[in-house]
Every structure is written in C-alpha cells, then in structure tokens.
Amino acid sequence: MNNMEETLIPKIGVITDVRIDTPDIKTFRVVTPDGKKAFDHRPGQCAMLSIPGVGEAMFSITSSPTNTEYMEFSIKKCGCVTEWLHQAEVGQQITIRGPYGNPFPVDDVFAGKNLLFIAGGVGLAPLRSVINYCRHYRDRYGDIDIVYGSRSKDDLLDYKEIIEEWSQDAGVNVHLTIDNPQEGWDGHVGFVPNFVKELGFDTNKTAVLCGPPIMIKFTLEGLISLGFDKTQVYTTLELRMKCGVGKCGRCNVGSKYVCKDGPVFRCDELEELPDEY
C-alpha cells in the first residue's frame, strides 16, 4: 500500500444544509461525516467538490475562515456538476479536497486599509468569505464599502445577510444595484461599473473585484478613471481546472497556474499575463 499523502484523493463531505439564494444559485453547507469542518482555509481559497460519476469542479469557499464549524459554497447552476448539486438533498455525500490557491492578503496588505468590495452576480461568492473575515476582525480594517449588483432583486445573493448583518455594521456601507427597474425595488438601478463611477470613491482604498469578465473589465476602467492604481485592485479568476495543484495544465495562463498562483491576482500582476483568461 502506498501511504503517501495524495492531494487528488479527496475527503468525504456531507451536505448538511441547502439554502436557495436566487433562482439559479444555491448555498450548500458541507462538513465531514463526523460533523467537522473538512479543513481550514483562508479567505479567497477554493475547494474541489465532486460527485463520483458526475465530475469534479473547483468552487470558491464562500464561508469565512472564522467559521470553524462548516464550509459553505454558493453555487450557480451552469454545468453538469452544478446541475447535479442543485438537485442534491440534505444528507447527500460528496467529495471535497483542498484548500487550493492563494488567498486574499487579508492579514498584511489589507490590514489597516479602507476596503472596497465590488461584486456582480455570483461574483459575490468568493468575496463573501473575505467580507465576513474582515467584519469578524473589524478593528483591523478601516471603512468597508460594498458595491454589489445583479440582474434583479431576486438575483442578489445573500440578500438577507447583506441587509440584516452587513449593512447594520458600523463603518460598513453597502451599495446595491440591479440591472433593470423592478417593482418593489427603490434602490439604485444600473450596471455595476457605472454605479462605481457614480459613487465616486476616494482612492485611499484597496479594491477587491469579482464578477463576470466583462464587468471586471469595465469596473477596472472605472476605478482607474477615479484615480485608482492597478496595484490597489485585486480580483479573482476562474478557469477550468482538474487537479487544483498546477500539474494538469488546464488553467495555465502565461507562466502562472490559476489554481496554484491564483485565483487571487492583483490587477497589475494580471496585466503581465497574456490575455487568455
């Protein structure tokens, strides 16, 4: 028997809670069969979830590392693994391995800074982990601004948590927007990049950006027009992955492997990569 540790061999996880967030996003709570958290992680890291016979895929861990009881994954239905997960019930076992990738630099770069989180759609999933981490250690950071937009009110992820917890915190400002006017919505209407420009943030902030590629592109442009430097902006990438440890070659962009060297990149680092992500 070969007893070496092998990262490709996963642990068994159990889905203990399924929360319906939006029409196509569900949040799954996962623990090991003996009720513990599968492993520790840092904000922004990912895990490989799989269902034997269906496939394996990389998901960002949406719960904060400060949660020592379980992990959460907010997953949008878009492929075969996610579709299968969406019909899974509480008690279903899956496999889980990780954590993979580099986290957001919450303890060094972010420490003492004002933070600006900008997310679009399911892009809030990877940021939720950082936001809750920063809220947990509130005194280590300056002001926190959160700009979050989605297609409609129903598509806003973690809406309850945002309204009931985040926006109640001192020094945390939440700015929500939806793409099109909707009955029962009296907040801002419009796309995230424009909203960011309208809000006109001070450049004394470190920004963290996640969303669809097109949103990232225009929001970054918006931030730069506001005077932000690329070194102040972080984002997180997503590419197809199989191994999660920089060996299978799939997420290779330039000399970087998104699974191992990312998924968190500073925007000036991204610029050095060939335009292939």
Partner: protein, 342 residues
C-alpha cells in the same frame, strides 16, 4: 566501467529479469520499436528510438486513481494505490532521460504526485548513448549530450560490445546483479565512440538550432507575434505531438461508471484539443491558433520561467517525425525566434 559482448547481452537481460521486470525497445510486428517487457526470444531493437516515449512508465496514458462505491446518499472511497515493485527500463536515450527531469519538476514539486513518485522511486533507468542519430534530432539545442546520457546506469553500444557505467546507488546495485556477466574494462572504446558520435552530432541538419531567443520572461516578446496565425493555420488540432512528446504532461481526470461503482482515473490530455479549457461559461482559448500557441509557449517560455530556464523540450524529434502536417517546434522556433540554423 564494465563491458559485455553484444552476443551475450541477452544473458544480461535474462539475469536482470530474474529479479525485476525489464522493459526495453523491441521491434514490433510493423518494424517499429516499442518498449516491451523482455522475455526469452525478445531482441533489443536497433532503432534509434521508440515512437511512444518512455514517459508511460512513470506517467501512464491511463491510470486509475481511486474508486468509489455509492449507496443512496453515501459514498465510500477506496484508495487503490499499491506498492510498486522495482523495474528496469533499458535503452533510454539521452533526450528521454532528460524528459524525466522535466516531468519530475512538475510531478514531484509540492504537493508531490504520489502515483508518479512511487513509480519513479521504483524505476531503474539504464540509458544508452546514441550511435546513429537521426536528422530530426536536436537534443544539443537543449544542452543534452547524446553521447553521454544520464540515468542510473549509462550504457554505450559499440559494434561488438555494450559498456556500462553506474551513476547512482540504484545503478551500482544494478551493476552488482550483472557483475558475473560483465568484465572490468578501461574507457578507451567508449571515448572513441563518444568522439565519433560527437562528430556526427555536429553534422546534423539541426545542429545549430538555438533556443537562446526563448526562455522565461519572453511572454510579451512572443505571445502576440503575428507568425502564430500562419504557423497554426493548417494545424489539425489532433493530439499526435502531445502524445508522442516525452515531456507533455497535461492530464485529465475523469470518472467511469462501471455499473457497480465509479473509477476515477486520469489520462493524458492535450492542450491542442478544442475542449481542453472549455468550461460551463465558455472557453478562454477559442481558436486553434491559441491552443497551438499555448503548447509552444509553454515549452519555450512558460516552463523555463518556472524552472530556472530549463526548456520543456528535449529535442527528441518525435513530433518532427509524426505530425500529420509536419508542423513542429523546430519550425516554430525558427519562425518565431527568427533563428536560422544554416
């Protein structure tokens, strides 16, 4: 240094195979050499090299990783890794020996791939110096000495004898096993052989091919080169180059439902394939040009950037010989690097 007459080489093979599985290039029914387990009657091929590289020994094309049994909502995971036995690969050429180093840097870097590592640990490599290089050879471009290959044991085959020199502890142990069949000798014959081959190497058509234009940090120089369009225009997008390549190491992990369980296995994959990077929300390399570029950029720029300047190519020439459209890394290097070997 020890030697054995070529007539007695099968005795050496017989001796080794008493204790270990022994693989060596043997001519197949179609006359093409292929690594085959030695048994009485099998003859060591005279071919320069095999079509399929020896990377299979450490990184097989298909390898089962684990199994799952599912019942209701429950999953049981079965670790099927077993302890490997020592085996000998005999007759590996210098280029292929280097390819193991290149694979090592991927699979043995943290976190170590235990499947690869256990095979690597148990493999004993007996390399053999080239005596008749082909026009497609260009290992010298990457600083490989075909007359003096690395490996646990280095062998030289002359007209009438095979000479051995152990390089590692594993190699010493190997030599010990065949001590009775070999005799101590000086290295004059080997030196003469080396000199003779070195002269041929100088005359090879690709002898002056240089990779100096490439290396880490050159992404910007080459990534947007206009030549990629032309080079990739007729690429079929097949996986021949990848699968005959001794250093290509991309893989896929897949599940196979057997009807009474699930086998999770990995198999070679190719960055030349259209769905290599395809995911639910799209594909970041949409045309063959991008996929083609990825393969060569990885070998010539990205890999060296991450590995102290070592290129991800060993100049074995397999892709030169086997590409259906004869497009290959040499043509790419010359075109993109503006390097003419003449």
């Amino acid at each position: 240094m020890r030697k054995v007459s070529l007539d007695s080489i099968n005795k050496v093979f017989g001796k080794i195979s008493e204790s270990n599985k022994l693989y060596l290039p043997v001519d197949g029914s179609d006359g093409v050499a292929v690594y085959t387990e030695w048994s009485e009657g099998k003859e060591w091929s005279n071919a320069l090299n095999t079509v399929r590289s020896p990377k299979d020994f450490f990184f097989p094309q298909v390898e089962n990783l684990m199994e799952f049994k599912t019942s209701g909502k429950n999953i049981e995971l079965v670790d099927i890794r077993d302890e490997k036995e020592d085996f000998v690969i005999f007759g590996v050429r210098a280029c292929d020996v280097r390819s193991f180093d290149i694979l090592d840097r991927v699979f043995l870097s943290d976190p170590v791939d235990s499947f690869y590592a256990s095979r690597r640990e148990h493999g004993i490599i007996v390399s053999v110096a080239c005596s008749k290089p082909s026009e497609t050879c260009f290992c010298t471009t990457f600083g490989i000495d075909a007359t003096n290959p690395a490996g646990d044991v280095t062998a030289w085959k002359t007209e009438d004898s095979v000479y051995f020199k152990a390089n590692t502890e594993k190699g010493e142990a190997f030599m010990k096993k065949i001590e009775d069949l070999t005799e101590e000798c000086d290295d004059s014959a080997v030196t003469a052989q080396k000199e003779k081959i070195a002269k041929i190497m100088e005359k090879l058509p690709l002898a002056n091919l240089s990779a100096d234009a490439f290396g880490g940090g050159k992404t910007d120089t080459f990534f947007n080169a206009p030549e990629w369009d032309e080079l990739s225009a007729t690429c079929l997008g097949c996986g021949t180059c990848t699968f005959v390549c001794p250093t290509c190491q991309c893989y896929d992990i897949k599940d196979f439902n057997t009807g009474n369980g699930v086998i999770r296995y990995r198999c070679w994959d190719s960055c030349m394939y259209s769905e290599f990077t395809k995911m639910a929300h799209g594909n970041n390399r949409i045309s063959q040009k991008e996929r083609f570029r990825q393969r060569f950029m990885h070998k010539l720029v990205y890999y060296p950037e991450n590995n102290e300047g070592i290129f991800g190519c060993v100049g074995c020439g397999r892709c030169l010989a086997k590409c259906p459209i004869s497009m290959n890394i040499v043509k790419v290097m010359k075109k993109i690097g503006g390097n003419k070997s003449e």
